[in-house]
Every structure is written in C-alpha cells, then in structure tokens.
Symmetry: C2
C-alpha cells in the first residue's frame, strides 16, 4: 500500500515543497558563470563572495560554507566547549544532533549532551534554570521535530538573557531560520544578533542542492576552518553547492512570507477534515506536522483515491510515531503554482471520503 | 616575482596536468542525465551505480562514495583500530593524514600515529619489523610527498605478508592508485586485493570536481557509513561530484599508461637542464618532483623568460623546502596535446638560459 501511495504520488502534482527539477534543469544555473577558478579549498571568488553575502545578511563578521549542517554544528559546539574547558552542551531532546547524526558529537568530540525539557514541547526558561553548568545551549528555530514550533519572541529574548547571565554561550540551529522570520517579523540579523554563532541550511526552504553556512565572529570562524579540515569537509571544490545555494537564496528569500501564509491557510484547510489535526494548529513557519486518526491502510487508501480523482498530492508521505500517523508538511512554491481553489477541491474530495 | 611568474603562466599553455575547464564546460557533463532523483543521503541510482562500477573495478564487495579522502581514510583507520581495540596506526612520516589534515585522526579519533621510516624515502620491511603492535598500517601508492615513489612489487607483497603475520590490517591510500598501475603492470583489482581496505580519489589524475571512494568488505562499508554520518559527510546530495567522477574515470582510466610514459619522457628532458634533478630520476607514475639548483629569483626569471618566448608553462609552481627549490609535476592530457617537439623547444630555451 505504501508503494501504491508513492507510485500514485509520482503521477500527481504535489501541494507541498517546490517543483522538482531534473539534474539538467538544476545545472542550467551554472550557465552564467565566468572562467575564473570558482573555489579551491575554501578560497576563490565564488565561495568568498557568497560567504560575504550571507555574513552581511546575518550581520556577522563573516561566514564559512560547509558541505553539511551536521559538520558545521558539531564544530560550533566543540569550539564553545573548548573555550569554556567543559565538554557539555544542552539542547532539545529532538535536536538534529541527538537523533540524526549517529552521535557524532558524543563519539567524535567527546561532548556530553543534556536534554532540555521534554520531547513534545519547546524548552522554556524554567528548563534552563534546572541546568547545571554547560558551555553552550543550542536553540533550534523553528523546532522541526514538533512541527516547527517557535518560542514567542520575548520568551526567546528572555532565555538568551538568562543564558548570558549564567555564562552559557548560545548557538542557533537556524536550518530553517529564514522560514521563521515572517512570524517573528524580524530580519535575519535581528535574530542572529541574539546568538554567539549560527548555522543556516540551503536545501530546506531554499531548495539548493546541498550545503550550509556557519556564521559568527572572525576568531570563531578561523578556528572553525581548522575543524572543517579535520572533519574532511574542506573539500577541493564546493562550487556546485555554493552556486546553487546562492541562486536559490536569491530566488526564495523574499518568498518566505508567502510560504508561511500559505502554510497557515493549508493547515486551516486540513484541520476541517475529520480526524486531521495539525501541530501547531496555526503554523508559525512554512512547516507543520499533520496527525491523522485511523488505520494506516485506510488512510492511505483514502489518500490514493484523492490523488487519483484530483491529480493532486496533498500529503508527501505518511509515517507512524508514538503519537499516531503523521507527516511533515513544508510549503514552498507549489502551493501558489497549483492555486488555493484547486487545492480546496482536493480537500473536499478527501473530506467526503472521511465523512 | 612570484606574481610575475603566475601572471605569465596564466597566458601560457601548461605542459602539466589537464586542460583547464570553465565551470560551464564542466557542467555540460550533466546534459545526458535523466529525470530520476540522482541521490539522496547515499541512496539513489547515480550514487549506487557508480559505487558498483568502482567496486567491480577494484574487486571488492562494494564501495562507498565520500566527499573527501580525508574523511574516508580517517574512518577506515578508525574501524580497524576499533576492531582491534587498539587506537594505533602506522604510516609514512609524510602521509596526507600527518601533514595536511590538522591532525583530525588524532583529535577526532584519539588515534596514536607511528611514523614509519624517514621522510625522504619509502618505508621498508625493516621499518615494519621495528614496530610494536599497531592495528593498521597505511600504504600510500605512489608516495606523493617524495615524488610519487613506489616500492617494487615484490617488496610490497613482502611487506603486506609481514603485516598479516603480525596481525596488522593494511589500508591502501590509493589517492593515485590508477596512476601507478602501468608501472606495476597490474590491474587495480590485483593491487587492491593485497589490502583490507582502499581509498581512491577522483580529482587527482582523473580531474573530477571532488570526491573519493572507500572500498572493502560489506561489513566494513556498512560500519563506515555510520562514521560518514558522524563526520557530517552523508550529504543530502552528492551527485555533482559523482557524475563528474564517473565521466572523468571513464575518460581517463585507460590513459594512465600514456601519462606515465610521458612523465618518464618529461623527466628525461628536464634532467638534461643544468641544475635540474627529478625525484625519482625515472618516474614510476604520472608524477615526480623537480629540484632546481640556484637562487629562487634567478630561476623564476629564467622560467618567465622561457614562458614569454615559447608560450609554454613548463613548471606549474616553485616552492622551497629543506632540500631546495622544488615543484610537483603531474602529467595529464596536456603533454600530448602540446606535443613532445614543441615541449622540447621550450626545454632548449630554458637550457640556453641556464648554460
């Protein structure tokens, strides 16, 4: 049934995400480039220029391009731990570092991790107050694994202030930073200003090929480059990632408000279907989680029927966790491309099937 | 003067290496690709297909594509150390891991390194016999930092046999493995068969964008993927590197004999110039080192004059080490493209200047 779902999805337009591009289409972004050596072990016009653009956007001394956020974040945390001579970090129990990285932080860097608060909610200043000494606290904005929730701005500022008082450095896991700026109604600089270091990703909301940026002070970044080489991330050439990141950043950074507003609209539509519940109920970024009551087989069959009748894929996948059947929804270009009315029709079909 | 050298070089055809390509030219290799998702966190047709091609070529169970050799080799050594419950590795004093990786192996993996033999020569079975217990010995073929020297085949086989008797695993740093096959007159499989694991690179002799392969048994590779994720090397997409690696591999793997024979010719030409000396005197791969007697400024001036008169760049750079002024020469497509006669003329000009 999962195969039937995926096979049918392949024939449909997806409401979520951006339009899929073939490799050939992706590669056309390189057509404008000149004849200069693009990059060479972290130097060269293509890489340095992009690092400068992002540093300016984030208001930091500089920034360094990394092949992955996994690498960039472990390194950021290690630097703060080394400076504080205490290999201890605090973060959310569902932080990317805790659940997706095969414990690289613990095994490669020997860093102890303290889980802040509980899995199914954001951590709060009360959770921070229970902490013994740590070197650095990692904040993930938005908190992906609970549907992209965000602390209210004042609460965030309060938590950062508290960390400063305690002498904790703060690092921003901003994999989806730009995606949450519209809700905060802040610039990237205003958010990043709160933190000692920040990471952002270019293949989430932006839709680049791969790659990440680590931003902060010059001394921090210089140190990070030593670790980048140690990790095997100081690649001979990174330009395919950088060029695509830059193009997609320029293309989509001003569309994030649109994605956010469409996520709010889409969640509202989905919540009218019986047994459908989004978390958060009203999204605060371009993403949310969707929980669906009932038996997996029956739900899948209803989704397949909806796709067959409407040619639209409302939901990109369906998984199970301890809270039930769920999926992650991220809104990109496709929502507007298909159009609200068309989407609403598919919603009605599914609604009818679940009456 | 260095700037003058580099500026003049830019206007010349280089005798060494391959023809430089613009980004646009590089990207045309993607034109033939289909519409399928190329790769996705280490899965997908593009990556799995290439890993299979290389595994077949090397005669191993399988192979895994890595963004860098730095990452692949640290991981290989760590696996052997873990299995032997001894974090100790032996390699040449000028191994890439010792001099170019900011001690990643030591700092991230806590592995102690034993330097085998002396900087300016290959290590021998006598050096191995002096070893206390280690988990793994790394062999670099050819040994880049001493001009790409190679142990004779029987000596290599003898050393491997000795390692087996002592219970040392053996890992091949085959960054330039294909480049040394013509001298050994062996297939890649015959060389790799000697070792427990092997790494090869795709941007040295092959001229790909970036990237490496780690090859070995299935259980070894499965374990290596966990470490790949820990290092932050399990990238969302690797296809730009993979596609270019595959194209260049197919293009150049049968040209290695040509490169090797031209390196022998070129070294012979250079050795006729007063104060010029190649190491090895007769190359055993497509590379060698060239030492030049005299004052750096004077040599540079002679090289610039030769370039101005002939429009050929005989030497790609000039550095100094404790043994004198030297450069690394690697032969690629350009030698044949320019042609022996034309090159010989430039040699005569330089010879005249240094009479």
């Amino acid at each position: 049934m999962e195969n039937k779902f995926l096979d049918t999805l392949k024939t449909c337009q997806r409401v979520t995400g951006h339009k899929k591009q073939t490799i050939k289409e992706v590669m056309t972004i390189f057509n404008e480039l000149g004849d200069e050596v693009p990059d060479f072990y972290g130097n060269g016009e293509v890489i340095n220029n992009f690092e400068e653009i992002i540093a300016t956007e984030l208001g930091t001394d500089g920034s360094v391009f990394y092949p992955s956020g996994t690498m960039a974040q472990q390194i950021a945390l290690r630097i703060w731990c080394d400076r504080n001579e205490l290999l201890k970090v605090a973060y959310h129990p569902l932080s990317h570092l805790e659940i997706y990285e095969q414990d690289g932080l613990k095994v490669l860097h020997n860093i102890e991790t303290i889980l802040l608060g509980e899995k199914n909610r954001l951590f709060t200043i009360e959770d921070l107050k229970k902490l013994d000494q740590v070197s650095v606290v990692l904040f993930e904005l938005p908190q992906r694994e609970i549907g992209g929730q965000l602390p209210e701005w004042n609460d965030l500022v309060g938590m950062i202030k508290y960390c400063k008082e305690r002498g904790f450095k703060t690092h921003l896991d901003g994999a989806r930073l730009f995606e949450c700026l519209p809700y905060y109604d802040k610039t990237a600089k205003e958010v990043v200003d709160l933190f000692d270091s920040a990471y952002i990703s270019f293949y989430k909301g932006f839709g680049g090929i791969t790659g990440a940026i680590l931003a902060g002070s010059n001394d921090f970044l210089t140190e990070s480059k030593i670790w980048k080489r140690r990790h095997g991330g100081d690649l001979y050439q990174l330009f395919p990632y950088i060029v695509s990141a830059q193009k997609k950043f320029e293309l989509r950074k001003d569309r994030m408000k649109d994605y956010y507003q469409n996520a709010v609209k889409y969640a509202k539509m989905l919540n009218t279907i019986k047994g459908f519940k989004t978390i958060p109920e009203i999204p605060v970024s371009n993403m949310f989680h969707l929980y669906i009551d009932g038996e997996m087989l029956e739900i899948t069959s209803q989704l397949v029927t909806t796709m067959e009748e409407t040619n639209l894929g409302l939901i990109p996948s369906l998984r199970q966790n301890e809270s039930g059947n769920f999926c992650e929804i991220s809104i990109g270009d496709m929502f507007n491309e298909i159009g609200e009315k068309h989407i609403q029709k598919a919603i009605e079909v599914l609604k009818e099937l679940r009456k």
